[in-house]
């Protein structure tokens, strides 16, 4: 019976260890301090991105449309509203992407912040804001968004 207790105790200890490892790995690889927002504009997808643990840092962002990689950029364009809202100490955290040619119809864009950990050897993508739903017409321009 004492052996069963030892086996149970060991199993519980290992479960806690694995749970702790998974949680700590999550916070290292997917830290919850990236903030951002994006919208569909007549010219493409635009928004802002900040790293609240390093507010002066320019965040690298990536655009995916319909789960396919489209383009990468650094969020360093003029967005005074970000500073005014208290998110960043300066005005330079905006980004904008020109849309590639897309078939007419509904699409979903997602903006991810690129985060490096493990001394730069590991890269992860963190979703910024909500997915952006938009519709393109025959000419490829955005005809509607929500």
């Amino acid at each position: 019976m004492r052996l069963v207790h030892a086996l149970l105790g060991k199993s519980i200890a290992e479960t806690i260890l694995l749970g702790g490892l998974a949680i700590s790995f999550f916070f290292v690889a997917f830290p919850p301090h990236f903030r951002g927002w994006g919208e569909a504009t007549p010219q493409g997808i635009a928004g802002w991105a900040i790293n609240s643990s390093a507010p002066g840092q320019r965040v690298q962002v990536q655009l995916f449309i319909d789960d396919r990689f489209v383009s990468s950029a650094v969020a360093n364009t003029y967005r005074p509203d970000v500073r005014e809202a208290g998110w960043a100490p300066d005005d330079w955290h905006g980004y904008s992407f020109v849309l590639p040619s897309l078939p007419a119809g509904p699409h979903i864009a997602r903006i991810y912040a690129l985060h490096e950990s493990g001394g730069g050897a590991r890269q992860t993508l963190l979703l910024l804001g909500d997915p952006i739903h938009f519709v393109t017409d025959q000419s490829g321009a955005i005809s509607a968004s929500k």
Partner: protein, 221 residues
Amino acid sequence: MISTTSNPDRNIVLWEIVSVLISCLIAQWTIHTFAGQFKWVGAVPIVLAIGLMLFSHWERGENLKDLGFRFDNFLPALRLLLLPTAIAIVLVILGSWWWSESGFSLRQPGWRFFLVPLWALVQQYGLQGFINRRAQLAVGPGLKSASIVGLAFCILHLPSLLLGVLALIGGFVWGKVYQREPNIFAVALSHTLVSMALSLSIPKDYANELRIGFKYFGMLI
């Protein structure tokens, strides 16, 4: 010879084997994947496994001699191991020569090489002194329990196919010999000689430098 246990105890015995194997797999696969720079965390499941094994020996009244830490049967055990060890070494060297594209040569041993005997002793204690003895308690001595030992050793060497197959055969043979002459030092010596032959002769780019577990696939970060 160890007599087979009753049914409820058999389940506990099998649980003991699985529990120790899982600890090793946690250290091999998840620590290297998730722990990043805190690789010392890998010692936690190993310490837990060793703690469980020691407690189990104590609970079952096993002493060092029972486990095979003895010298009275060292030579008989060595005699049983001589032929299979020699065959294994010859096959390893022949295989390495066959796979060497740029000419066969033995490598210079590094400092880690001198830890092989100690590492082999630790592995054989876990494999024979614990898993083999527990397998015999569960299914009795013979092919079944020796196969459990081989299978356990094979699982711990995955995903390397070459090492997995060698460990399956080696674990089985050492398991059979240990059941006839339970001596950890003799099987550890055989293990050391085969490991040395393998690590010195096999081409470096073959079998992914003998890596196992998560290290087989990826870089540690």
